[in-house]
């Protein structure tokens, strides 16, 4: 249980960073932390006490494997995180070029 809670705390720290910080890079960092927390949560769900990695060995039978599905899903999720980070960093670099700052309170041509 404590593992789950700590994982959620990590999620909330990321959320706080995204909602409250006024710097583009900090917001990207916050998104990264959220993504870490979700990935970690997935793997925590699949963990089995004294389990073994889901890879078959040549010479012995492995009986108590951890759940392989979350690992497969998280692999996909990590890639998604990387893709989003790369795209947002590209946008951020362009914004820096146009506005000369990373501070979103100074980037306010749109009123939304």
């Amino acid at each position: 249980m404590s593992e789950y809670i700590l994982c959620f705390v990590l999620f909330c720290i990321g959320l706080y960073c995204v909602l409250r910080k006024r710097n583009i890079i900090k917001i990207i960092i916050g998104l990264g932390i959220i993504e870490y927390a979700v990935n970690l949560f997935f793997v925590l769900i699949g963990y089995r006490t004294h389990g073994r990695a889901p890879i078959l060995a040549k010479d012995r039978v492995v009986s108590n494997m951890v759940d392989p599905i979350p690992q497969a899903l998280v692999l996909t999720s990590i890639v998604i995180g990387l893709a989003v980070t790369a795209l947002i960093v590209a946008i951020a670099i362009r914004i820096y070029e146009k506005y000369g700052t990373f501070d979103i309170t100074k980037i306010r041509r749109l009123k939304g």
């Binding site: 959320l15 979700v38 998604i80 989003v84 795209l87 914004i95």
Partner: protein, 495 residues
């Protein structure tokens, strides 16, 4: 089986366009249009399939669900496929000329087809994690497309949208993780089966709240709407049409419907939350729309307001309300894409979209003028256009269910809608023509063609409630109504 082709065709075209688009002239135009046309034909072909089989399940890789991923074709799927692919075909037709104004047109088509692949993937999938993957494909493509013009405002809007969208995706993924931990499966029907054998508890409501936050952000319901009025106007007009017309409906409304009504059994409190959110969106969107001078921003706020109608109707939860919601979804997809394409045409010929600097365009842009008139009349609910019937059904459903106040609000918002569309028409098309805009010409033929098509659909979409065409909509409504029956149908079809 046709189902995998809804993903294979757009993906294949996207990869080919990115490989060859730069080298061969006009190749990307041709291939993209062929791709969307074939998708439209396939999606129309899915209607008789659903009518005969009721539900079809395709097992990807030959693995039986829940071991493998399955694709499901039922009434709702077919309805959404027709809506999405109809709009996307007309939009690609329009882009052929419109996107001449931008550089690197082939990249536009690549991203467009990827976004389309994502949306089709979301619609046809029967697996929750797969839904998330395709949701991300569509979202990432749309983040990039919003910034396609690479002006400062567009980048800023895109950044805002990307951050909000990523947070929404994280909420959805967290919800999926919790559901997986709780039920130990990912197949939607299997999750429904597993949940039905467990006692109702906090878990399901927590997951429902997470999904509501995630999909609500993608739908731009009012507390989460801040990104939409920036992102939709910043995109090139064809993309605005796609985003407002079908994107928020696929990623938001469809996914929400599927998850809430077919997988989780949603409590009545949560449905009431939907009603409240829908009503707030309706009112706030309409009031903010009146104050706008930028045509596209006005339309974007209007999208929030109209999505409010759909969510409101879904929250009521009676058969008639579902019917109204889906009917309005289809109508809104048609007329909002028409209006955004019109705004693109206005911008194309006059280089501005500020209402204050326009006027008297009706003489020089007759096609745009008349189709905008049709679109505006349809969205504000003038009989006998499609929009009138869908709003009428929603209001009748609200009265039947006893929500008198909400029904009154819905009528008032409808009048407000008429007011701001009249403002749009008055400032743009009637009155004295601006001196500097004397010698503007009508937009190229393909753009006209796609606007005329959408205008015609606007007029005849009211026919969807006559008995001949009603089964198309009714089968989609039945999917929502059967609720938990979804899992039995899917498992029945596997065997």
């Amino acid at each position: 089986m046709i189902l995998p082709f809804f993903v294979i065709i757009p993906l294949g075209t996207a990869f080919l366009i990115s490989l060859l688009g730069k080298k061969i002239k006009n190749f990307s135009d041709l291939l993209a249009n062929l791709g969307t046309l074939s998708l439209l034909i396939l999606s129309l072909y899915s209607i008789p399939l659903v009518a005969t089989h009721k539900i079809l399940v395709y097992k990807v890789g030959g693995w039986i669900p829940p071991i493998g991923i399955c694709m499901v074709l039922d009434g709702l799927t077919s309805f959404m496929l027709v809506t999405v692919n109809l709009v996307s075909f007309l939009v690609t037709l329009y882009s052929v000329n419109y996107m001449e104004r931008y550089t690197d047109k082939y990249r536009f088509y690549t991203l467009f087809m990827l976004m389309l692949a994502g949306m089709n993937g979301i619609i046809i999938t029967g697996d929750l994690f797969n839904l998330f993957v395709f949701l991300e494909i569509a979202s990432i493509a749309s983040y990039a497309l919003v910034a396609f013009g690479t002006e400062a405002e567009e980048l800023e809007a895109s950044f805002k949208y990307a951050v909000m969208g990523s947070v929404a995706s994280s909420f959805v993924l967290l919800g999926i993780a919790l559901l997986y931990g709780y039920t130990s499966t990912l197949n939607m029907a299997d999750i429904a089966l597993s949940l039905s054998s467990k006692p109702a508890g906090m878990m399901v409501s927590f997951v429902a709240v997470l999904f509501l936050a995630g999909f609500g952000l993608k739908t731009a319901l009012v507390p989460f709407h801040a990104w939409l009025p920036d992102a939709h106007p910043s995109a090139p007009a064809p993309i605005s049409a796609m985003l407002s017309g079908v994107f928020i409906k696929t990623l938001g409304v469809y996914a929400l419907c599927r998850v809430f009504f077919n997988i989780l059994t949603v409590s009545s409190q949560l449905l009431f939350v939907l009603i409240v959110l829908g009503m707030i969106s309706m009112v706030v969107g309409a009031f903010l729309a009146i104050a706008q001078d930028d045509i596209k921003r006005m339309f974007a706020y209007s999208s929030i307001s109209q999505i409010g109608y759909i969510i409101f109707a879904l929250g009521i939860g009676t058969p008639l309300a579902f019917f109204g919601a889906l009917f309005h979804l289809f109508n809104h997809a048609v007329f909002k894409s028409l209006l955004f394409l019109n705004s693109g045409a206005i911008e194309y010929s006059t280089n501005t979209r500020n209402l204050k600097r326009l006027g008297g365009l009706n003489r020089s842009l007759p096609v745009t003028g008349y189709t905008s008139l049709l679109g505006s009349m349809a969205i504000s609910g003038i009989p006998p256009l499609g929009g009138f019937w869908s709003k009428l059904i929603i209001i009748i459903a609200a009265i039947q269910a006893g929500y008198f106040v909400s029904a009154t609000v819905a009528i008032l918002v409808s009048i407000l809608t008429l007011a701001y569309y009249l403002k749009f028409l008055k400032f743009t098309f009637s009155g004295k023509i601006n001196e500097a805009k004397q010698n503007i010409r009508e937009v190229p033929g393909l753009m006209k063609l796609s606007m005329i098509f959408l205008g015609i659909i606007c007029v005849i979409s009211g026919l969807l409630i006559v008995p001949l065409f009603k089964p198309f909509l009714q089968s989609a409504v039945n999917v929502l109504l059967q609720g938990q029956g979804y899992k039995d149908l899917v498992f029945g079809a596997i065997k």
